[in-house]
Symmetry: C2
Subunit: 174 residues, 2 copies
């Protein structure tokens, strides 16, 4: 008689044969999990001189404000991922421009790639992961309720470079 699935997943730390690092291995099935950093893609999205902001409907930072951003998926480029996230979080069709910044957050295994973008038709609305969406002038951004430090930096980097046709991205470690 087979034992029922144990739901344990890769939970044993060991160095696989031929490797040099500890990986998580499943004690049930032997699967080796190669965890690598994840890419977060996002955009500072403009309509005229106003910026698209989203109030998060999910944790972490539920109820706080962010630019549209999320995990890049397989089969897309970073630019395509940033456009997809703007559509999912803010029902917004956007055109991606220059790369503003590459922010490394090694503590949580993330590399964030943030682009400049424009709304294509001015349409937007709260998607499933947002409580609310809005276009803000710079001084209307809810600075005291920003979700993550990298969001603030992305906005600052956008403002510093907004009159430049081509951008040397800010490579910043958090």
């Amino acid at each position: 008689m087979n034992s029922p699935p144990k739901q344990s997943g890769p939970s044993i730390r060991a160095i696989p044969d031929g490797d040099t690092r500890e990986r998580l291995i499943c004690g049930d099935c032997g699967f080796i999990q190669y965890d690598n950093p994840k890419i977060v893609v996002g955009a500072v999205v403009l309509w005229g001189d106003r910026i698209l902001m989203c109030k998060r409907a999910i944790e972490p930072a539920y109820g706080r404000w962010t630019i549209p951003a999320g995990y890049m998926e397989l089969g897309e480029t970073p630019e395509e991922g940033a456009a997809r996230e703007a559509f999912e979080e803010a029902c917004a069709k956007i055109e991606i421009g220059a790369l503003i910044g590459v922010y490394s957050v090694p503590r949580i295994g993330q590399v964030q790639m943030i682009y400049r973008a424009t709304l294509i038709d001015g349409e937007f609305a709260a998607g499933a992961e947002s409580l609310e969406t809005m276009l803000c002038a710079w001084d209307e951004i809810p600075w005291d309720e920003i979700a993550f430090p990298t969001v603030r930096l992305a906005l600052d980097d956008w403002r510093r470079t907004k009159d430049q046709a081509a951008i040397v991205p800010n490579l910043k470690r958090f």
Copy 2:
């Protein structure tokens, strides 16, 4: 009596509750594998006007030439990963400079981030993953035996920008 481990790993395609995409799920233990794109980090490494090249001792492209590059690991920044790869593949201590290019290869789920760098002390040697290493003048690069198209582009992007203090990286889809 427990059944022996089946070594199957995440191999069943299904959309987990609350998700929107098919993921691979393990039929033995229920583990859900979230596969995201992987980041490859590398560097065009200079010593004077010569470039550090490595002859690959591993597949794919065994025996062909590349710049030092490899998968970014957890706990490091892309710059730290590129420096680690240069040390592993060419026993080279390097100082990382500007970001030359971000090359997306969605077909194989990769984003490659390539930096300009310099050898710190001129020392280098073949590491475990290299058959041979060498410093080449531009015309000495073994152009007919380059491992990957992105290596050729990285070299071209380095040459085009080599006199610039700050670089607008080439954002290129393969």
